[in-house]
Structures are given as structure tokens and as C-alpha cells.
């Protein structure tokens, strides 16, 4: 789906797979879904066909609160390829969601100098094209 391998200036975009289609559909609607295991109670990000803890397929999709904290971050000054060159410096964040799971994302509307560990952040999305919206975070 993505043609980033031939166009160095195109950002790599995800190609949703059978497991992840509902997750990406959620992002398109501005929602972050987590999978809750009805057998062991485990909560997981990202979507799979089965629970990572007990392999149950009895998974329920629930919308996350969207609240989280910055567990770690790194501000990229040297871009990984030409596609991200105009974005530097930009912060990649490892967010710990209120529900427990962590996820990788990046910040919007935030000066990278204002970032710190354990800061409260809030989930949002950024529309890239008709099919893909990317999960992002902003300071809460």
C-alpha cells in the first residue's frame, strides 16, 4: 500500500492487516481501542487475533480513556531518511496509557523542549489520507 520504498520523500504508512483493521478503523474515527481479554483480564495494545497472555480468542474491544503519561522519549534531530527531514526536531514518545499498555507515538502541538518524564498526555489523531489517521498525543 505504501510506496515509501520507492519514493524516499513519502513517509512510511501502515498497511493494516486482518488483525489490525479494527484498530486502524478506530484511529480513522479518532478513537483508541484496546483489546480486553474476557478470560484472563489482560489488556493489550495492539490488536491481535488472540490474547498475548493466555491465547484466548475471547477478546473485547473497548475504547481507551486516552489519558497517559510519558514513560520515555527521544527528540530526533537527525531524521531517518528524507521523509522526516522537514519535521526535525520532533519527539517520539513511549506513552504509558492509563489502562496499562504502552505505545509508541509522536507529539503534536508541542515544543520538544517542554517534554519530560511522567508528563500527562492526551490521545488524539491526525488524518493523513482517507484511509489512514495516525495516533498522536498532546500535552494534557
Amino acid at each position: 500500500m505504501s510506496n515509501s520504498a520507492i519514493d524516499p520523500f513519502a513517509k512510511p504508512l501502515p498497511s493494516p492487516d486482518p488483525d489490525s483493521l479494527p484498530l486502524w478503523e478506530g484511529f480513522r474515527q479518532g478513537k483508541l481501542f484496546l483489546q480486553h481479554c474476557k478470560d484472563c483480564g489482560g489488556i493489550q495494545y495492539y490488536h491481535q487475533a488472540s490474547c498475548r497472555n493466555c491465547q484466548s480468542e475471547n477478546l473485547e474491544e473497548r475504547e481507551a480513556s486516552g489519558r497517559g503519561k510519558i514513560h520515555s522519549f527521544s527528540v530526533v534531530h537527525r531524521a531517518p531518511g528524507p521523509a522526516f527531514k522537514n519535521d526535525t526536531p520532533y519527539a517520539v514518545v513511549l506513552v504509558e496509557l492509563e489502562e496499562g499498555p504502552r505505545m509508541i507515538s509522536s507529539m503534536i502541538d508541542t515544543n520538544p523542549d517542554d517534554l519530560d518524564f511522567e508528563l500527562d498526555v492526551a490521545f488524539t489523531t491526525e488524518k493523513i489520507n482517507e484511509e489512514i489517521s495516525l495516533p498522536r498525543f498532546r500535552l494534557a
Binding site: P14, S72, F73, V76, Y90, S106
Partner: protein, 396 residues
């Protein structure tokens, strides 16, 4: 913590030959396969074996080639018909994983004389398409790469959190770079040999916080090879055999956000399994080759490998413990930071250096009386970890 490992291959196999391409570093105009052949020829010469005696080839993906089966392509190019061939791809951990696999298949009776070999041209041989592909495909396409996260960034986030949790500083990280540069200055053929200071590291250009340019590994061309054989056969080889005493590996996650705790790695399990198999403890180790894609990686590893307590890696290194006279002289060739980094096989040079130290061949780099060595390789944002314990005949 020690699941899955019984002391079955301790001392059963040995490294009897090591070899590098004629030049390592910037080597334009020599193909990855040609670099691999130079290394293989050098290792074979040390082993005293004939090429036809090599019945197994283990390699890894050479990023600057389009081969899907580098070990098979290599065998054709070198003119042998092995009865075992494999390409291991566990990123930076490949180095230890392939040596461990060589020991395992010999011990299983599946091969007699194994060539572990790689050649790659990361510095001068990557077409723009290859470079781009290796960058954009290095992290997951759905949950990581859309956010512009190079693999460097995953390592940076672990180091950053380590600073937060344990008070580790950029100065601590800089000590790793300065120490290893001093080592490289004494190593013939090292890529980076001009002296650097703590200030130089701190003031070098920022790459991805907290890492600056001199916190990061170099990029290189080169080839590396080993000949591994049974302990019985090793006795007839001209070089002092260096025995594989312990092996351990651990793969904790694929995505950085599923790493259980980002300041503690699978190196804890891989090294404990390797120590257990070898019947040694960290304080027994005389010399180490520790994967050093970034300075902070070494800080975290001296902790996870058991050389100091968790969180004390920074002060431990700043106190001079990874150089001569310290607790565990490490990366005495200069490491990925200053000697060379040729990709998945980059840490083969660490293992070469440990072998040379144990043979007593290091001249003015020699760690006096080194009998027991540790080799630890890791990769993919600490997803993959592999450890090998090596020793001389005296340690059997």
C-alpha cells in the same frame, strides 16, 4: 531465569581460526562476498584446515547485497558444497547467536567444521534504495515506523529512561566513547583513531536525545569469519584453541513498547544462562566484548551482565572499570564506536578481540593473564540478546 539450558555443550567445541578482510572501515570497490572470502581465507589459514573440510556455513543477512541466502551465495562464491547452511537474523545479537549455533550443531553431530562468516559494505556499498529500505524497515511498519522512529531512537529512549531512574548522566555515557577510542588508538586497522575527550562527546552534534554523534557507532565495510570445530579436532590445529564454555540467548519483545522494562534487558537471562552453562560467575571473567551500538548500551550492559549493580553502570564506567586495571576490560579493540560496525555481523570483531586476548596475541593491548572471556551481542532496540562465554584450555 535459567529455563531451557542444561550444561551440555561446555568445552565441547572451540574456535580454531579467526579472520578479517584485508581492510576494515572504508573499503570501496570490494564486494561484500569478496570481503567475506578474504575473512574466510584468513580464518581457514589459522585453522590449518583445507577448504574442503568445511561442511557447514552460518551467516547472516548482508544489508548491502540483495541475497536472501548469503550463506548459500557465499558457498558458491568460495567454491564449497556444505551439508549445512543457515542465515541467522536476530539483528545485532546475530554474532553470538551464530557462534552458539555453530557449537550446538557440532555437539549434535550435525556438522564437523563450521565456518561462521559475513561480509558487508554499509559505508560505501549501499545504494540509496538499500539504505532507505534498511532504515524504514528496521522498525515495525504499523506501530513504530509511521512515527519516524529509527532504531537509534529505541535505544535512545531506553538510555533516557535510565538517566531518569538512576541518575545516569551524559558524562557517564561519554566515558564509554572516550575509553573505547583510547582502545582503538592502539588497534591496528581501527576506523577511528584520533583522540577524543569527554567535552568532544558532549559537544558533538545531537542525533536523537540523549545521544550525540560520538555516542553512536560508526558505519563500516568489512568481513569477518570464524572456524569452529570439536574440542578433539581443535587439539590438532596450530592456534591455541579457545573453547566455547557457555551460551545463552533471550528474545524479550519485538516492539519497543512491549519491552517488559526498558532499562533492563534480555541480557540478564542470556548471560545468566551462559554463566550457568560455563560454571562461572561474572567476577571470574577477565575480558569482555560488549555490544556497543551506543554508549548507553554499554552502561546498561555492565549492569545486566552482572559486572555491577543495576543503576550503577555509569559511575562504574567513569571509575575506569572497563579499561586496563579495572574490573572488566572491555572492547579493547575499540568496539562498534571506534573500531568498525559492519551491520548484523558488527560484533564479530568483539569476539575476535576476546579470542586474541585469550590467546595472548594482543601485544600492547594485552590484558595480562586473560583466560576467561565474555562476548555479549544484542540488537533491535534490545529485543535480541546473545551471550557466549569463551575460555582457554586452563578453564576447561
Amino acid at each position: 531465569m535459567t529455563k531451557g539450558v542444561e550444561p551440555t555443550i561446555r568445552g565441547k567445541t572451540a574456535i580454531v581460526g579467526i579472520g578479517q578482510s584485508k581492510k576494515v572501515g572504508r573499503v570501496p570497490g570490494v564486494s561484500p562476498l569478496a570481503l567475506a572470502v578474504e575473512a574466510a581465507n584468513a580464518a581457514l589459514a589459522e585453522s590449518g584446515m583445507q577448504k574442503s573440510e568445511i561442511d557447514a556455513v552460518i551467516s547472516t543477512q548482508a544489508m548491502s547485497t540483495s541475497f536472501h541466502r548469503f550463506s548459500v551465495a557465499f558457498s558458491e562464491y568460495w567454491g564449497i558444497v556444505p551439508t549445512y547452511s543457515n542465515n541467522v537474523q536476530v539483528s545485532g545479537a546475530t554474532g553470538a547467536a551464530t557462534l552458539n549455533e555453530a557449537a550446538a550443531i557440532i555437539n549434535a553431530g550435525y556438522a564437523k567444521n563450521v565456518l561462521v562468516v559475513i561480509g558487508d559494505s554499509l559505508l560505501t556499498g549501499m545504494t540509496p534504495d538499500m539504505a532507505l529500505r534498511s532504515m524504514t524497515e528496521s522498525r515495525d511498519q504499523q506501530y513504530e515506523m509511521p512515527f519516524g522512529i529509527p532504531v537509534a531512537n529505541t535505544f535512545a529512549m531506553t538510555a533516557h529512561r535510565h538517566m531518569k531512574e538512576y541518575g545516569t548522566t551524559r558524562e557517564h555515557f561519554a566515558h564509554v566513547a572516550v575509553t573505547q577510542r583510547a582502545h582503538a588508538m592502539r588497534t591496528p586497522g581501527a576506523q577511528m583513531t584520533s583522540e577524543i575527550t569527554i567535552e568532544d562527546v558532549l559537544n558533538s552534534k545531537v542525533v536523537t536525545t540523549p545521544y550525540h554523534k560520538l555516542d553512536c557507532a560508526v558505519i563500516s565495510d568489512g568481513g569477518a569469519a570464524f572456524i569452529v570445530t570439536s574440542a578433539d579436532r581443535a587439539k590438532d590445529c596450530p592456534k591455541k584453541p579457545i573453547y566455547i564454555l557457555g551460551a545463552g540467548e533471550c528474545f524479550t519483545h519485538e516492539h519497543i513498547f512491549l519491552m517488559p522494562e526498558i532499562t533492563t534487558t534480555g541480557g540478564v537471562t542470556s548471560s545468566r544462562n551462559a554463566y550457568k552453562m560455563a560454571g562461572v560467575t561474572p567476577s571470574d571473567i577477565d575480558v569482555a566484548g560488549i555490544y556497543d551500538c551506543f554508549t548507553g548500551t554499554v552502561v546498561m550492559m555492565v549492569e545486566d551482565l552482572g559486572f555491577c549493580k543495576k543503576g550503577e553502570g555509569g559511575p562504574f564506567i567513569a571509575d575506569g572499570n572497563i579499561t586496563y586495571g579495572g574490573a572488566i576490560p572491555s572492547n579493547t579493540h575499540g568496539g562498534l564506536l571506534s573500531y568498525a560496525h559492519i551491520g548484523n555481523g558488527g560484533s564479530y570483531f568483539h569476539a575476535h578481540e576476546v579470542v586474541r586476548q585469550l590467546r595472548g596475541e594482543c601485544g600492547d593491548r594485552q590484558v595480562e593473564g586473560a583466560e576467561l572471556g565474555l562476548y555479549h551481542a544484542l540488537g533491535a532496540g534490545f529485543a535480541c540478546a546473545g551471550t557466549t562465554v569463551l575460555g582457554t584450555e586452563a578453564t576447561l
